[in-house]
Subunit: 470 residues, 2 copies
């Protein structure tokens, strides 16, 4: 029997496309090497957000009980998902490791058993794994990644986190709250590289204010097990961190490509598998979605899910247009949270002429809601096209930024202007009012200076190759 689709990976991307196709009556097979639910359920969003929540709201639990509770709840969800997929109509589930034999067949190894699978379409949703850069002298049991972090039984006394990206920063806040000494180390000159510099500045100040030591321009050099000392190379100078009992490697992710892709003729690069706008690889009827796709924009649970939905639609209704892939919002669960949609100013200025971008920043502390809840930090930052006011990207730093971003995500994806947004009434008192205030500020400044705004717009619109969307 030849399946309609074989799906490699049962994470957010793979499950979504499987369920979508199965629901439309297509026979599919899903092959998963590890656990159903992928990284998100097992070693990603779910356990990390459980840990962050419990670190902030521990009640009577001590840290070991918190770790145990994170695992118990995670396992509860995992078991549900395990059960659930086995009972899905039109879905065969195989626990095993898939490799390509040809462009329409896979070999799946489960234990010592091998099985050949044939399918009209093959969907690669094999996800990603943490990048490991070994530190000399660091014993395996002291090195953690997101895959082993949630197996901790006891709180590290001093955890060194290598990599100050999203995972590194989130875990720095959580372990600080739990009571560990936390050192956060990044090779780059600043933390949270992919986010706006204003965000990095605020989060850095916050980390330092709670006692996290942050080392930028630094990397782990050597670990001395006899003294539990981690020596950093910080811009050429050695810095010794004492009594480090765990090191969390959160440097980045690499696509899971160990699938004999070359046997099917599938192209891939260092960052993953290149795809076109409808998720096709270079090979007909072979698709790649989620983390394994080489676009960074697809490396979220929600973007993997969205790609799964798009692909299910494409495969089931090939005659329906599938549309442009949306701009996905992102969320970082630091304290405060950060949520962003669209490019940072730096990248916008590469895409559009820099003079075409007008930025509004509004401090949450100027809202009455911040006044009533003693909130002194956070902001809304919106980049819009000069004159037209079209919102191209936005960042919110706020206690619930992930709940506040949808209106801006809608704006970016539907070409809503600052003028339009300034007409929207927000409930009072709310922090979201900042969004309106930023839009108001844009409107008043633009209207007061219309002639000049028009001149700049006309001049640089033509100076830029990217006129499509202005």
């Amino acid at each position: 029997m030849k399946y309609h689709s074989a799906i490699i990976g049962a994470g957010s991307a793979g499950l979504t496309v499987a369920v979508g196709l199965a629901g439309l009556g297509k026979q599919v097979v899903v092959i998963e090497k590890n656990h159903v639910g992928g990284d998100c359920t097992n070693v990603g969003c779910i356990p990390s957000k459980l840990l962050i929540h419990l670190a902030n709201d521990a009640g009577d639990l001590n840290s070991s009980e918190i770790f145990a509770r994170v695992r118990a709840k995670r396992n509860e969800l995992r078991d549900e998902e395990d059960e659930w997929i086995k009972n899905q109509e039109n879905i065969d589930f195989i626990k095993g490791e898939a490799k390509f034999i040809s462009n329409d067949s896979l070999e799946v190894q489960t234990g010592t058993k091998r099985k050949k699978i044939e399918a009209e379409n093959i969907i690669i949703a094999s996800g990603s794994s943490p990048i490991i850069i070994p530190i000399e002298g660091l014993p395996a049991e002291r090195a953690l990644t997101n895959e082993s972090l949630f197996d901790l039984e006891d709180l590290p006394k001093h955890i060194a986190i290598v990599g100050a990206g999203v995972i590194g920063c989130e875990m720095a806040f959580a372990f600080n709250k739990l009571g560990s000494t936390v050192s956060l180390i990044d090779l780059a000159a600043r933390i949270l590289g992919p986010l706006e510099p204003e965000v990095a500045e605020l989060i850095l100040a916050r980390l330092e204010s709670i006692g996290v030591k942050v080392y930028t321009g630094a990397k782990g050099k050597i670990y001395d097990e006899s003294t539990n000392t981690l020596v950093l190379d910080s811009n050429g100078t050695d810095i010794s961190l004492e009594n480090v009992d765990k090191v969390l490697l959160a440097i980045g992710r690499k696509a899971n490509l160990d699938l004999d892709l070359e046997k099917a003729g599938i192209e891939f690069g260092r960052r993953g598998i290149p795809t076109n706008k409808v998720h096709e690889t270079n090979m007909e009827n072979i698709y790649a979605i989620g983390d394994v796709d080489d676009q960074a924009s697809s490396a979220f649970t929600h973007s993997a899910n969205a790609q799964g939905r798009r692909l299910a639609q494409k495969l089931a209704f090939p005659y329906l247009p599938i549309g442009r892939e949306p701009t996905y919002p992102s969320a970082v669960f630091t304290n405060p949270e950060v949520s962003q949609v669209g490019l940072t100013l730096d990248n916008l200025q590469k895409k559009y002429h820099e003079k075409l971008i007008k930025t509004e920043r509004f401090e949450l502390s100027k809202t009455d809601r911040a006044f009533t809840q003693d909130l002194n930090e956070g902001f809304v930052l919106i980049h819009a096209i000069r004159l037209t006011g079209r919102i191209v990207s936005a960042t919110i730093v706020a206690p619930n930024a992930s709940e506040m971003i949808p209106i801006l995500s809608y704006a970016v994806n539907n070409k809503v202007s600052m003028y339009k947004l300034s007409e929207l009434v927000f409930p009072y008192p709310s922090l979201s009012e900042s969004i309106k205030k930023a839009a108001d500020s844009f409107k008043f400044a633009s209207l007061a200076n219309l002639k000049n705004e028009l001149a700049i717009f006309l001049r640089y619109r033509l100076a830029s190759p990217l006129n499509e969307n202005l």
Copy 2:
């Protein structure tokens, strides 16, 4: 000298129009009987949200210190606003009581001094006051309204709150948290009358679970000072509440109409001053905005502010179209919060044919964010027009509902459909995902049943007088 505009009341409505006009170079006079900032700053949103915040996050403060801190912060803001208005260019500020002399002149009394003011436009933004229904035997010093509540020095042991509307419910949560025994009393058969019944049900359950006693179908009958007993008439039966030391009257609001309106020929009713879509009263060049307007939809700080902006635009640029008044969201700061935009189902069914409305309810507890933060209650409720999917109203009950409503407020005000909303990607994990899930559910159900949906739509669209917006 004849002013461009005379504005009665320096609350949210009055200040906004004053600042708007003054900024455009118009000479205005603002007359305020009490404090600058109106109810919101002085006896409304600001002190109540300060109290709610501090009740939930008291730190080391005892309740008396909390009350003192609420006042100190409130006064800080009040003083700022007092100073600020005195330094505004083009604004004359008079502390005093205004009465109409004619349709273009006012008499303002400050102490024993009287002054005549003439203006081309007069804007009534005099706000509203709490309705008082006296309870026999209740001494004045035991009766509170929002105007005296924030002067409390000590925590009541047992506070009876008469009126289970927004203020009553918010204060029931706050005083319970502070440590008072709280009894909440309403004449109606349910609490939170203007909100969806599902909301009332959830908030009632929550109030009862924290120990607030709720008496519906009941009113205060008599207070016995010798025993501190408040006797309720509960559907004809007497119920005695023991040891009640304070009674908060939160029954409702009445428009402040003591302005000699008849001398200017201005019509008014029991609920306030009727106005047309551009805030004009029956008399030319006389306007009414904010709480004094007879529309309930304008009785929020944010709607008063929006009306002030609209009116400033209309007066300054009479040739510019002013547009339809938006549908304002509302927010209730109970625990969890409630936020609504548009009509309740009950009222929608009076406006449209009931078969035309399709309701989607999605429980927050089904989101992964709720799972990671142990949240078991709350929901998103969306009413949309069948088939077309146009979103006509929505309610959110969630810890930060007021921050989540803007996307739905945008949808209601800009005729966004459930289909469109289901295309929007929300960050994962967030409670806001519920909005998407509700939209997804609408979409899948409608597509699966298209023929039937179309038949119903066509049939009842024509059966209803309200085809304008479908």
